[in-house]
Each structure stands twice: as C-alpha cells, then as structure tokens.
Symmetry: C2
Subunit: 99 residues, 2 copies
C-alpha cells in the first residue's frame, strides 16, 4: 500500500467564533476523495483552539481536495473567523486504530 499522508494542525478562531468556524469545517470536509480521516477537535484548555488531524491516501489526494467546491466554500466562509495558525506538522500515518 502506498504511503499515507497526514497533517496535524492547530488553528485559532477569533474570540467567540470557534463554534461557527468548526461548523464550516465540518460542512466542507465531508466525502473528500482519498480522505481516510479528518478529525476536528476543540482544545479543552484554549477556548479559541482547534486541532485538526488529517489522514489521506496520498499527498496528491490532499492537494486535490483544496480545489473541491465544498472545501473552497468552507475556506471562504471560515477565513474571516480564523485569528491564526499554530503547530502544523506533515506526517506519515502508520496506524488508525478503530478509525
């Protein structure tokens, strides 16, 4: 099996906007070809913090997803609600557990 590709990223919502931002992210990231996991999680210690763990069948699948209409739509709606980005790591996922 070809090597999987992944990302672990931290995003900071504008104050009070996390729920709305998460909503757009959830909406826009369903059914993306080659996506094996797209876990969106709120940081329990930071009211503005969002952590996203992505697993893709390949790096190319991830790149292609950025031009999907649903993803473009989520980016357009979400960008004004993003205050910044923190950790961003590219990874080679090796195990998914039950996922």
């Amino acid at each position: 099996m070809e090597e999987l590709y992944g990302i672990v990223g931290q995003m900071k919502a504008a104050p009070g906007k996390r729920a709305e931002l998460v909503g757009y992210l959830l909406e826009g990231t369903q059914g993306m070809p080659g996506n094996l996991a797209y876990i969106i999680a709120e940081d329990l210690a930071d009211p503005d913090g969002i952590w996203i763990t992505e697993v893709w069948r390949s790096k190319a699948d991830h790149a292609a997803s950025l031009s999907l209409p649903s993803v473009q739509d989520a980016i357009t709606k979400g960008r004004p609600l993003i205050a910044g980005f923190g950790t961003r790591v590219e990874t080679r996922p090796l195990g998914m557990g039950e996922a």
Copy 2:
C-alpha cells in the same frame, strides 16, 4: 450522544528507535473498548517525532484503557525507547470525516 474525548500528543523516540517504538504502540492499541480512533503518525520533518491523535467515546474509556494488559505491555516495552514528550492537548472531537 455524550461528548467525545480526545488527545493530540507529540512523542520523541530515542534516536534510531522510532520504528521499533511505533511497532509497540501499534501492537498495544488495537481493540481498546471505547476507542474510536488512535492515529499514530511519524513526523516527516523530525526523524524522532511521533504524533498521536486519539478519539474516545468518553474520558473514562481513555482512563480505563491505561490498565489494559496490551497497553501496559506497550508502555513497558516502549518506555525505554521514548526520549521525551512535547505537545499534549486534551480535546473535544466534533467530527471524524471518513474515520
């Protein structure tokens, strides 16, 4: 549905020991009750870096997993190969994508 519980954590393997450590982690984290995802991923920019994203049905399920024989075994085998820990965030996962 009860709130999910999650963790995003960074682990540093001792130099040259990442593959062996990942092996123990993969072995010991299968079939854990209440686990919805246990993504083990190698950091592409850091030869010793491992990122783990966990999603659990509840915080209690996570706590209980720590006493599972398979997890205890992985901890025993893996601990000597761990050089340190970095980022560790507790999260509320809200979406899993395809996972």
